[in-house]
């Protein structure tokens, strides 16, 4: 085999390696469609471009009392009530996507009980620089809470690369109360 052929084979291999390597570096569908995580901690404001979110506490209960509804609600798991302070920064917005991702990767969506959206933070229209205190409610087994992460986003659909407030809720479970009572979301 002549030296020229050897050089050709080496060049071909180099180009193949370069092609495979570059393909590994290109963004995948997931990379260009997933929300962008804005990380924070409990008790400190998480500042996303369009809203600030401060988690003030987490309560867990077997039943949930919704203001304006006489009977406490039952659940097959537990109610996790996340008390928070929310401020929009630019224009009126809603926070439509609320969920908790457990440490095993299972995602629990925000609770959808009747009457809940009239009092919790998902039904509230936030106005710029007027802080609102209220709660998010997610139903999940209390033993899934250690290591779980709260994820809050403005939009429910078309949310490619949208900022998503991402806050670890801590390594321990708060004491499970018999009944947790919601307070109506309001400008504090």
């Amino acid at each position: 085999m002549s030296a020229r052929k050897l050089v050709n084979v080496a060049l071909t291999l180099a180009v193949l390696v370069a092609i495979v390597g570059l393909y590994r570096l290109t963004p995948t569908q997931k990379d260009i469609q997933e929300p962008v995580a804005v990380n924070g901690v409990v008790g400190r404001a998480v500042k996303t471009p369009r809203f600030d979110l401060t988690i003030e506490g987490v309560r867990v209960g077997r039943k949930l009392r919704i203001p304006g509804s006489s009977k406490a609600r039952d659940t097959l798991s537990t109610f996790v009530v996340v008390d928070a302070l929310v401020t929009a920064t630019r224009e009126p917005i809603h926070l439509s996507t609320v969920r908790i991702k457990a440490s095993d990767g299972v995602i629990y969506l925000g609770a959808n009980r009747s009457g809940l959206d009239r009092v919790d933070l998902t039904g509230f229209e936030f106005a710029p620089d007027i802080p609102v205190r209220g709660s998010f409610v997610v139903e999940l087994p209390a033993d899934k809470l250690p290591g779980a992460t709260l994820q809050v986003m403005e939009k429910a659909i078309f949310n490619d690369l949208e900022p998503q407030a991402t806050i670890p809720l801590g390594a321990s479970t708060p004491p499970v109360e018999d009944v947790v009572a919601l307070t109506r979301a309001s400008e504090s």
Partner: protein, 201 residues
């Protein structure tokens, strides 16, 4: 080698027209897609103000006059209301407009009054403002055929608009006190973006 080189030169010469077309077409396609993406982004938000002149400005088939803005307004007679949250101020705006042809009212439906700070932050109408609304809301005026006595002093404002005669509507907002004195009323229609009406104070 000499023969191959000569053949290649021939290929370029045969395809000059096609290569020239590519040189024009590729930048043109890039410019076109970029432009249409930019346009759809630009048109999604209110960005181009149509500023209302003191003597009235014609827009969307109506003549718009200066809006009157009132900080911390009085509630309607006989209404007791809770104070606004700490650090906020209520702002009431009366919009004044006139149509020369009543059919123009149809084009004014779906308007959204907002307050806008100089830095671009915007506030929507307050959802709990009934006690401060002594005119019809929206942009199409009243709907009463004759004055209704139970409306009290505000009855005249709820009459159906008459061609050529100005009428008033109301919008009530709650904004941070820090911006209450420099926010400007605006009106937006989803169908007319990126234009919006701006009412200087």
């Amino acid at each position: 080698m000499t023969g191959a080189r000569r053949a290649r030169r021939g290929w370029f010469r045969t395809n000059t027209a096609a290569l020239g077309a590519l040189v024009i077409a590729i930048p043109l396609a890039g410019w076109w897609t970029t432009r249409s993406d930019y346009k759809s982004w630009y048109d999604a938000e209110p960005r181009d103000p149509v500023v209302i002149a003191a003597g009235g400005t014609s827009y969307a088939g109506a003549t718009w006059y200066a809006a009157s803005v009132e900080e911390d307004p009085q509630a309607r007679a006989g209404r007791q209301v809770d104070p606004t949250p700490a650090g906020t101020t209520r702002v009431r705006v009366y919009f004044r407009l006139q149509v020369d042809n009543l059919s123009a009212l149809e084009g004014l439906g779906g308007c959204r009054p907002q307050l806008r700070a100089p830095d671009g932050r915007v506030w929507n109408e307050s959802s709990t403002a009934g006690d401060f609304q002594d005119r019809p809301t929206g942009c199409t005026g009243g709907y009463d055929v004759k004055p209704q006595s139970w409306r009290g002093a505000a009855a005249q404002y709820y009459l159906k608009p008459v061609a050529g005669k100005p009428f008033e509507t109301v919008a009530v907002f709650v904004v941070p006190s820090a911006v209450a004195s420099n926010v400007e009323p605006t009106i937006t229609w989803a169908t007319k973006l990126p234009q919006y009406l701006a009412f200087p104070r």
